[in-house]
C-alpha cells in the first residue's frame, strides 16, 4: 500500500468547496476518501507515482483556495499523515515542493522517529504519562518493548507505541469492489412469493452476465446467486459448472436444477447474480494429441441441448462389487453438461485395441422356460424358450451357486453359462427360492 495525505489547516466548511476539492482529487487519483473532521483527504497511491500525484494534489488544493495545504506520501497512513501535518523532519525525506513531503519506501519508522510524540496526537492523559517518564520523541517510544509499554501505559499506550513504530492498522481504503460481471434486480412495489417465478428474473440477469462474459471472452465456472428476502435475511447459492462457459443455456439448466429443491422462508425482494470465478476461454491452449479439441465446443453444446430436452438422459455408470450381476452397475444422471474427458491411460495409442466380449443385461428380469438334463446329479439346462423361440445349447457350463443377503434381500441362485446354436453365449440362473429360470444376460 501507499498513501497520500492532503492536510489543510482549515477544511472548507461549505459543501460546494468541499465537493469541488474531492472532484479535483478524483481526477488525479482513482480512489479518494475524505476525513473533514481531521481536515484531511486520502488518496490511494498504489501503482501511481507519489511525486506526480503529490504535486497534482497540492496544486489542486491551492487552486481550491487552500493555500496552507500540505501533502505527505508514505507507505503507511501514519507516516503520510505526520508528513502532511508536520512536514519534513528527517534527512531521509526529500522535498520537491514547499508543502510536499515524500517518505521513501521502507523509511517510515525512521522518518517518524525524529518527531515529538505529540505528532501522533496522543490524548491528554497519555501525553502526561509519557512526559512523566521522559519519553519525548517517537523514536524513544518505538525503542521500548511491548511488555514495558503495556504495563506502564495500558492499551492506549500500545496503540501509540505501534504508531510510533509506523505500524498503522487503519484501513483507509476498503476492499476493491469486484469487477466481475454482476447483475441485480430489486423491487419495492411488490414481493415475489413463488420460487418458480424467480427463475424468470434470474434468466434475465443471466442474459446480462453472459453477454458481459462473452464481451470479455471469458467463461465462468462459479457464480453466486443471492436472494434478499422480505424478512431481511439473505440466501446465497453457489452455482458451479464443470468447465468454464459463457453459454446461457448451460447456466440456465444448472440454475434450474439448483432452484428446484429450494424453499425460501419469505418473499423475495431482490435477486443478485455475480460471477465469482472466471477464466479467459478464447485463448485456451489446445492439446497436440487431442484430435477432438477443435470440435469440443460443438460436443458440449450438443450435450447441453440434449440435456435441455431430455433432462436425465445422459448417464454415468456407478459400479459396485455386489454378488448379483444386475446390481453391479447403476446408471446415474449426469447433469454436468460436459463431455467427460476420457481417461485414456489404459488405452493404447499404437492402434492395437483389443475388442472384448462382455456381459450385456436385459432391462427387466426375463423369465424363460428351460429343458433340463442331469449331470453328476446336478440339473443342467440343455436349452431355453424365449419369446416362443427355442434355443438349444451346444455346451452348458455350471452350476455356480451364489447365496447371501438377509430377510427380503436373501438370494440363492445357480448360474449356468450356455452356448446357443448360433454361437451366442448366455447367462441363465435358477432362482432356488421360487424355482424359476431367468435369463441374466448374454455376451456381445
Amino acid at each position: 500500500m501507499s498513501f497520500a495525505c492532503l492536510w489543510t489547516p482549515r477544511w472548507p466548511t461549505d459543501a460546494a468547496s468541499s465537493a469541488d476539492l474531492v472532484q479535483r482529487a478524483l481526477r488525479i487519483a482513482p480512489r479518494v476518501t475524505v476525513e473533514p473532521q481531521q481536515n484531511r483527504l486520502w488518496a490511494d497511491l498504489r501503482s501511481l507515482d507519489p511525486l506526480v500525484i503529490g504535486r497534482k494534489l497540492l496544486a489542486a488544493a491551492h487552486r481550491g483556495g487552500q493555500t496552507g495545504a500540505r501533502v505527505g506520501t508514505a507507505a503507511t497512513p501514519i507516516a503520510a499523515e505526520v508528513a502532511a501535518r508536520c512536514g519534513a523532519g528527517h534527512q531521509a525525506t526529500r522535498l520537491d515542493l514547499p508543502g510536499l513531503t515524500l517518505v521513501a519506501s521502507g523509511l517510515d519508522r525512521s522518518f517518524l522517529a525524529a518527531f515529538p510524540v505529540a505528532a501522533l496526537l496522543p490524548d491528554q492523559t497519555l501525553a502526561s504519562l509519557l512526559d512523566g517518564v521522559g519519553i519525548e520523541r517517537c523514536g524513544d517510544l518505538a525503542a521500548l518493548d511491548l511488555q514495558s509499554v503495556e504495563v506502564r501505559l495500558g492499551i492506549d499506550g500500545i496503540r501509540l507505541w505501534k504508531l510510533a513504530r509506523a505500524d498503522d492498522p487503519r484501513l483507509i481504503f476498503g476492499a476493491r469492489r469486484s469487477e466481475r460481471p454482476f447483475a441485480e434486480l430489486e423491487w419495492i412495489d411488490y414481493e415475489l412469493a413463488a420460487e418458480a417465478q424467480a427463475l424468470f428474473v434470474v434468466n434475465g440477469l443471466l442474459n446480462s452476465v453472459c453477454d458481459e462474459l462473452i464481451r470479455r471472452s471469458e467463461g465462468a465456472h462459479l457464480m453466486e446467486l443471492t436472494f434478499h428476502l422480505a424478512d431481511r435475511s439473505r440466501v446465497t447459492l453457489p452455482i458451479r459448472v464443470s468447465s468454464p462457459t459463457a453459454d446461457r443455456a448451460t447456466w440456465v439448466r444448472v440454475i434450474r436444477v439448483t432452484l428446484e429443491p429450494l424453499t425460501l422462508g419469505a418473499p423475495i425482494t431482490r435477486i443478485g447474480l455475480e460471477v465469482k470465478a472466471s477464466v479467459a476461454v478464447g485463448h485456451r491452449q489446445g492439446d497436440l494429441f487431442d484430435a477432438g479439441f477443435a470440435t469440443a465446443r460443438s460436443a458440449d453444446a450438443a450435450l447441453a441441448h440434449l440435456l435441455d430436452q431430455q433432462g436425465d438422459a445422459v448417464v454415468t455408470p456407478r459400479r459396485t462389487e455386489h454378488p448379483l450381476p444386475e446390481r453391479r452397475i447403476a446408471w446415474l444422471p449426469d447433469l454436468s453438461g460436459q463431455v467427460a474427458e476420457p481417461d485414456t491411460g489404459h488405452l493404447s495409442l499404437s492402434g492395437t485395441i483389443t475388442p472384448r466380449l462382455t456381459l450385456q443385461q436385459p432391462t427387466a428380469m426375463q423369465r424363460v422356460e428351460v429343458t433340463l438334463t442331469t449331470r453328476r446329479e446336478a440339473l443342467l439346462p440343455t436349452g431355453y424358450r424365449d419369446n416362443r423361440v427355442y434355443h438349444e445349447f451346444m455346451t452348458t457350463v455350471g452350476p455356480d451357486r451364489i447365496s447371501g443377503g438377509f430377510g427380503a434381500e436373501r438370494f440363492e441362485r445357480d448360474y449356468y453359462t450356455g452356448i446357443r446354436g448360433d454361437g451366442v453365449m448366455v447367462l441363465l440362473y435358477r432362482n432356488l427360492a421360487v424355482d424359476e429360470w431367468i435369463l441374466a444376460g448374454w455376451w456381445d
Binding site: 458440449d300 431430455q310 485395441i353
Partner: protein, 243 residues
C-alpha cells in the same frame, strides 16, 4: 487378349475369381476406382481386421452404417472403436436405446439412455448433427424409412459416423453383419477335461455396400463374469481360479 484373360480366369478357383477379376480390372484401368472407394473420407475403427474389410479402410463419414442387431460381437467391436477414438482425444457417444449395457462397461463414451425410442432417435439426431462426435452408436432402435432419411441428413450435416444396431438396413450406406463361429471357440478345461470357461470366440464379419462385399474372420477375447460371493471387494472369493 480377351481369350487369354478368360483362360487365366478359368484356372483360378471359383471362390477367388471375383477378387482376381478385380485385380485384373485395377491393372488394366488404374484410374477407374470402384464406387465405394470413390466415396468420401472414412473413420478408422482401430480394429485392423475390421478396417481391412471396410471401404477406404473405415466407416464412411457423413453416412449411416447399420450393423444387424441379431449379429454377435457388434457391441465389442464398436466399443473397441470408441476406445480407439477416445485414445486420440475424439468425443464419442453411445445411445443405449435397448438399455442393455452390462456390469463390465468401463468409462469412456458419453452414454445416453433415453426414455423411449422417439427420444433415442432425437438424441442421436442432436449428437450427429453437432459435428462434435465423430462416432455415434445407436442401439435398440429400428428406424422407419422416414426416420432413417432424417438421420442420414443429420449425419451428412455433421460429417460424423452413425452406426445403428438395427434390423432395418434400408437407407444405410454400409451394412455389417456378423456371426459367431462355434468351431473356433477356445475353452479353458476343468479337471475332468470338460469345458469350464470360454476364453475366445471366433467371429465372422461381412461388410457390404453397393459394389463392395468383404468378409473377415477374427477372434475376440471373452470377459468372464465373476460370480463373487462377498460384498466386500477387498475379500478374496472362495472359489478357486481355473488353471
Amino acid at each position: 487378349m480377351a481369350s487369354s484373360a478368360a483362360t487365366a480366369l478359368a484356372s483360378v478357383p471359383a471362390d477367388r475369381r471375383t477378387s482376381h477379376l478385380r485385380a485384373i480390372l485395377a491393372a488394366r484401368f488404374p484410374d477407374a476406382l470402384p464406387l465405394p472407394e470413390q466415396t468420401r473420407p472414412s473413420l478408422a475403427t482401430g480394429v485392423a481386421a475390421l478396417d481391412q474389410i471396410l471401404p477406404n479402410g473405415g466407416l464412411p463419414r457423413g453416412r449411416v452404417s447399420v450393423w444387424s442387431a441379431g449379429s454377435g460381437g457388434a457391441t465389442a467391436l464398436l466399443r473397441a472403436s470408441c476406445d480407439h477414438l477416445l485414445a486420440r482425444g475424439e468425443r464419442v457417444a453411445w445411445v443405449d436405446g435397448r438399455r442393455t449395457l452390462g456390469p463390465a462397461w468401463a468409462d469412456g463414451p458419453t452414454v445416453i439412455r433415453p426414455a423411449n425410442d422417439a427420444l433415442a432417435l432425437k438424441a442421436a439426431e442432436i449428437l450427429v448433427r453437432s459435428g462434435g462426435f465423430p462416432l455415434v452408436v445407436l442401439t435398440g432402435i429400428d428406424p422407419q424409412p422416414g426416420e432413417m432419411l432424417r438421420l442420414s441428413r443429420m449425419v451428412h450435416e455433421g460429417q460424423g459416423v452413425l452406426v445403428a444396431l438395427s434390423e432395418r438396413t434400408q437407407g444405410a450406406t454400409l451394412k455389417l453383419r456378423s456371426r459367431f463361429l462355434p468351431s473356433r471357440f477356445q475353452w479353458a478345461l476343468d479337471p475332468f477335461g470338460e469345458p469350464a470357461r470360454l476364453d475366445r470366440m471366433g467371429l465372422e464379419i461381412r461388410a457390404t455396400t453397393p459394389g463392395w462385399s468383404r468378409t473377415v474372420i477374427l477372434t475376440l477375447e471373452v470377459v468372464s463374469h465373476e460370480l463373487r460371493l462377498s460384498l466386500d471387494p477387498a475379500l478374496a472369493d472362495r472359489r478357486g481360479q481355473l488353471g
